[in-house]
């Protein structure tokens, strides 16, 4: 999936955050925090074409059923797209 905004992933105080760089304009929060699953998905976004690809990668890595994975992945992708990131 294409990441439209230039963001740097940083580990701070045990949290994973995405910080805008370059032309990317900050939204109201400025930065974006990822939970463990979010950080995992973020790493694998470039190799996925559609949401199903990500669900598969998630179920390969985590001990979750497909429905749960689907729900979590969709929620996360929704969050990213509402910020114009994907």
């Amino acid at each position: 999936m294409e990441i439209k905004k230039e963001l740097i992933k940083r580990e701070i105080a045990g949290e994973t955050v995405l910080i805008p760089v370059g032309k990317t304009v900050y939204d109201s929060n400025g930065l974006f925090m990822l939970n463990e699953l979010g950080a995992f998905i973020w790493e694998h976004l470039p190799e996925a074409d559609i949401a199903e690809d990500i669900c598969r990668i998630v179920t390969d890595e985590y001990d979750v059923d497909l429905d749960t994975a689907k729900r979590d992945v969709e929620e996360f992708l929704q969050r990213l797209s509402s910020h114009g990131i994907i």
Partner: protein, 377 residues
Amino acid sequence: MLNRKQTEPQLSKYLHAKGRALGLPIAGNFELTARCNFDCPMCYVHLKSEDVEAAGRELSAEQWISIAREAKDEGMVFALLTGGEPFVRSDFFEIYHAMKQMGIMVSINSNGSMLKGEVLRRLIDDPPFRVNVSLYGGSNETYRRMCGRAAFDDVIENIAALKNAGIDVRLNVSVTPYNEGDVEDICACAEKLGVHMKLASYMYPSVRVNGGKYGYGDRLSPEKAAAASVRWDVLRFDDETFSKRAEAMAELRLTEEPECPVDSDEGVGCRAGSTSFWMTWDGRMVPCGMMTFPVVHPLELGFKAAWQELRRATSEIRLPPKCKTCPKRSVCAMCAAVCVTETGEFGKVPEYVCRMTDAVISQTKAAYEERKSENGN
């Protein structure tokens, strides 16, 4: 309403809270220069060019970038580039781009006079998290009196351009004897521009530039400073909000969070030296820009060791025992920087601020009653 409620993003608060527990420097302030194209009497940094040379040397862009990188490696997320006027440095963008590229959220303090043309274009190309513009008055006349330059029209035009470019701009207003009559005009300006503003009428004694005279500053009396602050409350709050605030204040409570969140113990309590640090233009590190000590030297010690030393020294600071038990503490602006700049010691009660607090309480009460009687209930 002038006061769109602007609370700090939860995420930033959360990172500061975690950083505090882990001892991380979450936020850094970088005073890139002491030079400025304005000459304001209450400035705590600005030196004349000849004095800058006498006082020390500005760090190079490479030095700033390397300190920022070390700070980032220790956990710095937020950086504020300030001065002086940071844009007087011809290598400003070198430092700024490098910091942003590291994944640091960079904000800028500026007097606004140079935010046009090429500077504006470069900011739009690589936008900052926020620009805080100090607004010194509501007319060219006041600007001439206070800053030595009739820059008001330019500054307003530049703020509007920044805002149109989608950059978050905030106004910082300092009330002094030179512009105390402008509070209404300034509020109207902010309203017209549609930007959030913050007004401060308490001015720290400029210990750093006045030859170390504690408690001295070219500033309003505590009562007049209180009047400006209450005036602003009257202007920015609608009837209901103002009433709530006044009723809370009568019980010595605040309804909104103070700018620097301070707990009410005897230690420093705010973020200074706990999750934030301040680098002066000549390379010293202090907990907060108003303080001259405790001071450490990252150029000699390296950032990490300097930061650890700063935390340790800050943790030993004790504020006045009297303030700890003072019933007015929660409505009082007292903090470590206030105590030390007013009295020369962290542990001494800042009388100016006691007087200002008393005046804020009584004047808020008076304004509340006046508003009530005007409204006929």
